[in-house]
């Protein structure tokens, strides 16, 4: 008998290699790294949204026993680069948003540092601030492009004319609130200065990204910055780039050379210092002919950005290529406000944008009188609408068909508001999902043959808790044609060869391609029976198919919803996601990724809402009691399935990223199901009980 869980073949459900260490508490995260005689840093944050610090009296804090220093703009060193305002901390008294770092206390214990922080007296010059997200001309502008390198707005054909001539039309506006990444492990850093070298034990999504951004800010040779992230408890984008606390720890450690400085942010501090998904307002206009084929698609998105630093979410980008439509207009605008800097949060663009588009698709299917699954099938494009390129693979229709079969969709009565049991109205909904299949070039991997007969594989990648360590070991084993037990993979620091960021669901594809290339070169150089000490370092070649194909993963999300007819409470007893995401590297960790994404989508649909108070300029429900994330009791049956998809073009392994697509479309599927249950169409997330109260 073969124990499947111990087989490392690609696709098989190998158990996480770091699982035992994690469940026994021996896997050390950033803050737990052993360092000698550490000090603790507590950031000071602005209590106003715009203005300047006129006076900052640190003497009561400094007088406290155990306090080593209080950093402020008055005593902080001048930084070499101020290009990134999040990192250029304490360089001026100016305040651009509430919660901005204005100082830091460093003390013998976390408790003393926090107590001392409360003793610092700050006098401000207050300037009028504007923090309320809205579509006023005075704050709205069109960015040059949007994340992740999407160019300018798109305008093909004549949308207005097509809409005027359409047999059926939908024109609706959808809003999504600010949402906060809230990884389980809060952001944390330990900074150690020794012999003009900086070592950071840091919770991040890319050690090289941290080095590349921190070194120039400090005016250092990057080779003198060492970053370690051996285990990371999630990031969801908020650890994609280093934030202010990393710089604070680095500056404090340099000032107090010889004593490591530890900084762990609190949940509250995270709400203003590590980014968030910006609120959006999206208008979608669709036109269709009498056969239920789209003739016009317009998606106009407005997102929030910060005055101190632009972040342009790409909410309307998926509509560029999702469905057929001869006439298409895609626009993206930003509302600039005195708010903390937004950033990536799991499926930036697609998560919010597909909520709007896929709700509009449901509205249009109903308007046309066509089943929502069938309506999407009818509007399936043969080639990518924007570029005209063929798809490397696109199996959305198969996902929809298979999902409909598995979910029992085909017997569905489309009539809303008629299924009632024990005071609960029930309904079902569907939405499509998509996410680009990115690869980031430039990573390197080293493979060496070690005494004892195992292969050492090194790459400076990171495992956010997703299972990268395990998946990459499987890829290496397959590429080297050895059992997975013969592979020892090392990742998580700048001690290994350069690797790209864990972002855009690109990690496994980018790093895996690199490892495959290194394995091929290793075998070419050293043969099937290498000598001990044989070693090869290689970089993945650029994908020759890039630019010849449109490369995306697809999925279909199904949801069953129950709405209490008295209270409006909404529950999701059942979800199903069917995905077409290339070859699946590890069935166990992949399932967890999809399931986690879908759960986060449920949370987005029902709960998550950062409530900003425009008078103060901050999110007032800034903790996990006030900011609701779905709990276990909110999650019913979540079923995950995927197609056996072979894509010869995306990369040598035929894999597509799966970290983000799971969240995409879920909120729309749940909203569509709620409409089917109640007859009430809600166009504003989250779907809280009062919106279904009759």
């Amino acid at each position: 008998m073969t124990d499947v869980s111990n087989s490392g073949k690609l696709g098989e459900p190998l158990e996480r290699l770091d699982g035992p260490a994690k469940v026994t508490g021996t896997a050390r995260y950033a803050f737990e790294q052993p360092v000698d005689d550490p000090l603790y840093l507590h950031p000071l944050q602005a209590d106003i949204a715009r203005g300047r610090v006129v006076r900052i009296d640190t003497s009561p804090a400094e007088a406290l026993s155990g306090v080593h220093t209080v950093l402020t703009h008055e005593n902080a060193e001048s930084l070499s680069s101020r290009v990134d305002v999040e990192l250029a901390v304490l360089q001026s008294p100016e305040i651009g948003y509430r919660g901005q770092v204005i100082g830091a206390v460093v003390a013998d214990t976390q408790e003393i540092a926090a107590h001392a922080a409360g003793l610092v007296e700050v006098t401000y010059e207050r300037h009028p601030h504007d923090t309320v997200f809205r579509s006023d001309d005075e704050i709205v502008y069109t960015p040059d492009g949007s994340n992740p390198m999407i160019g300018e707005d798109l305008d093909r054909g004549d949308v207005d004319e097509a809409l005027a001539a359409a047999e059926y039309a939908v024109d609706a506006t959808y809003t999504t609130p600010a949402e906060y990444n809230n990884p389980m492990e809060p952001h944390a850093t330990i900074a150690v200065w020794e012999s003009a070298e900086l070592t950071l034990y840091d919770s991040n999504q890319g050690s090289y990204t941290v080095r590349d951004m921190i070194a120039p800010t400090l005016g250092m040779d990057p080779q003198r910055v060492h970053v370690f992230a051996p285990h990371v408890g999630g990031g969801f984008g908020s650890k994609g780039v280093p934030h202010a606390h990393v710089m604070l720890a680095a500056l404090a450690a340099r000032k107090l050379e010889g004593r490591p400085v530890k900084c762990a942010l609190s949940r509250r501090q995270m709400f203003s210092l590590v980014g968030y998904r910006p609120p959006t307002r999206q208008r979608v206009r669709l036109g269709a002919d009498s056969a239920g084929r789209l003739t016009a698609t317009e998606h106009s998105a407005l997102e929030q950005t910060a005055r101190v630093k632009e972040y342009a979410e790409q909410s309307a980008s998926a509509a560029r290529n999702m469905y057929v439509s001869a006439n298409r207009r895609i626009t993206n605008e930003l509302a600039v406000l005195d708010v903390p800097v937004p950033t990536w949060m799991r499926a930036p663009g697609e998560a919010g944008g597909m909520y709007a588009l896929e709700t509009a698709m449901d509205e249009m299917a109903l308007t046309c009188g066509v089943d929502p699954v069938e309506f999407r099938v009818r509007n399936e494009p043969e080639r990518a609408p924007e570029s005209g390129l063929p798809f490397s693979s696109r199996n959305l229709v198969s996902c929809l068909r298979q999902g409909a079969e598995m979910f029992g969709w085909n017997d569905r009565d489309p009539e809303p508001g008629v299924r009632r049991e024990n005071g609960w109205l029930s309904g079902t909904g569907v939405a499509a999902a998509t996410f680009p299949s990115f690869s980031i070039p430039g990573s390197k991997a080293t493979i060496g043959y070690e005494p004892g007969g195992y292969y050492r594989v090194e790459i400076g990648a990171v495992d956010l808790g997703t299972g990268s360590r395990t998946a990459l070991s499987q890829i290496a084993a397959e590429a080297l044609e050895v059992p997975v037990e013969a592979v020892r993979l090392h990742l998580g620091s700048t001690e290994q060869p350069r690797a790209s960021i864990a972002g855009g669901s690109s990690g496994t594809a980018s790093w895996g391609s690199t490892i495959v290339q290194a394995a091929r070169e290793f075998r070419a150089e050293h043969g099937a029976e290498p000598a001990e000490g044989a070693e090869t370092t290689a970089e993945a070649a650029a994908n020759p198919a890039a630019g010849e194909y449109a490369m995306n993963a697809y999925g279909a999300q199904f949801a069953e919803v129950a709405v209490n007819a008295d209270s409006g409470e909404i529950r999701v007893p059942r979800m199903l996601g069917v995905f077409a995401a290339g070859r699946i590297v590890n069935a166990r960790t992949a399932r967890s990724q999809f399931l986690g994404g879908m759960t986060m989508g449920l949370s987005m649909a029902l709960h998550e809402h950062g409530v900003l108070d425009g008078r103060f300029g901050h999110v007032v429900n800034h903790d996990l009691a006030g900011y609701h994330v779905a709990g276990n009791a909110d999650v019913g049956s979540v079923e995950v399935s995927w197609l056996d998809e072979h894509d010869p073009h995306v990369n040598p392994m035929g894999i597509k990223g799966i970290g983000e697509i799971g969240i995409v479309g879920v909120a729309a599927a749940i909203g569509n199901a709620a409409r089917h249950a109640t007859g009430i169409r809600v166009r504003e997330l989250p779907l809280t009980p009062e919106k279904f109260l009759i």
Partner: protein, 330 residues
């Protein structure tokens, strides 16, 4: 967090003497609310007197059919208590609807009664709050007030009491036993908490140093039915938008007796006396339920974000009454 002294009380008298004699001293039970407040700087006691070793940790049957619940009985233990589950299901349900398993394992009966509002502005020392700093103004009045009061609020404070347990106790006509330096006194639980008025910083009628030692429940009527219904944003671990605790007796199709308390609506557990009055002797019909709810909500005043609480309460109270008055087998 400001440094503080800690001492463990071995007997009630010395604990009461210590706290009564020191305006900066506070009792600590499970600490699930107080410790958060100390971390956030909402309260900065100079001394904590830990009362969890005092002999108040049992649930005792009283002669006559009532029950006495010690002040340090943990919420989890109380919810699991056989006599409570058997005779006061509304209380067991309310306890289990509150907080999380971990918090219930620590939280005590007395501490639950004295927990403070979860108003976001109260819990954030960077925003004005009359409850935290009298005279600074109420940020919630014109701010984010989705969770706030629609009954009995004032221009000085619109916060709600967050307890589920206290709502059930209010419907059960519980009595709170209190000891102070002057001796013992008994306070009906419905009179323990205050409405905010112009002193929102005073949430209960207790004097500094008074210690809750127990809660007594009167004997339940054999023919009554009770339940606790909590409407919230999440299926668990969320404060009530609206909650209803009800104890109802039906006799020959008419409601002979009803005791109702509402949560999530006011600065205190809200005993719905107007609804009770409207129900007394009335037939158990939808119209009766609705009229009772409307009678209770006649004085309700909505803020910017919480107007939904009024229809949500009306619907939920009606649904609870429907459930409790449904004939077996019907």
């Amino acid at each position: 967090m400001k440094p503080f002294d800690y001492q463990r009380a071995d007997d009630a008298d010395s604990a009461i003497a210590t706290v009564s004699g020191d305006p900066e001293a506070r009792y600590i039970g499970g600490g699930t609310n107080l410790v958060d407040h100390m971390k956030l700087g909402i309260t900065e006691p100079g001394k904590l007197v830990d009362i969890t070793r005092l002999p108040y940790d049992s649930v005792e049957a009283l002669p006559g059919g009532g029950v006495r619940i010690g002040a340090t009985v943990r919420n989890s233990d109380l919810a699991a208590s056989h006599v409570i589950r058997q005779r006061y299901p509304v209380l067991a349900q309310a306890l289990l609807a509150g907080a999380s398993g971990q918090l219930r394992n620590l939280a005590t009966t007395g501490g639950n009664l004295l927990q403070r509002t979860r108003c976001s502005y109260f819990q954030d020392t960077s925003t004005p709050c009359n409850k935290r700093e009298p005279g600074t103004g109420c940020s919630a009045l014109e701010g984010w007030n989705r969770y706030h009061a629609v009954l009995g609020a004032s221009e000085h404070c619109v916060a709600t009491n967050p307890s589920d347990m206290a709502v059930a106790l209010a419907a059960l006509d519980a009595t709170v036993l209190v000891r102070g330096q002057e001796g013992q006194r008994r306070i009906p639980v419905t009179e323990l908490h205050r409405l905010p008025g112009d002193e929102p910083e005073r949430e209960t009628v207790l004097e500094h140093g008074e210690l809750i030692t127990a809660v007594e429940l009167p004997a339940p009527s054999e023919s009554s039915r009770s339940t606790y219904r909590k409407v919230r944003d999440r299926a668990s671990y969320a404060f009530a938008l609206v909650s209803v605790a009800a104890v109802v007796e039906v006799s020959e199709g008419a409601i002979s007796h009803a005791r109702i308390a509402l949560g999530g609506l006011a600065h205190k557990p809200w005993r719905a006396t107007a609804a009770e009055e409207a129900l007394r002797g009335a037939p158990a019909t939808e119209e009766t339920f609705r009229n009772a709810a409307e009678a209770e909500l006649a004085e309700a005043r909505a803020l910017r974000d919480n107007a939904f609480k009024i229809p949500m309460t009306r619907n939920t109270l009606s649904a609870v009454l429907r459930e409790l008055t449904r004939q077996e087998g019907a």
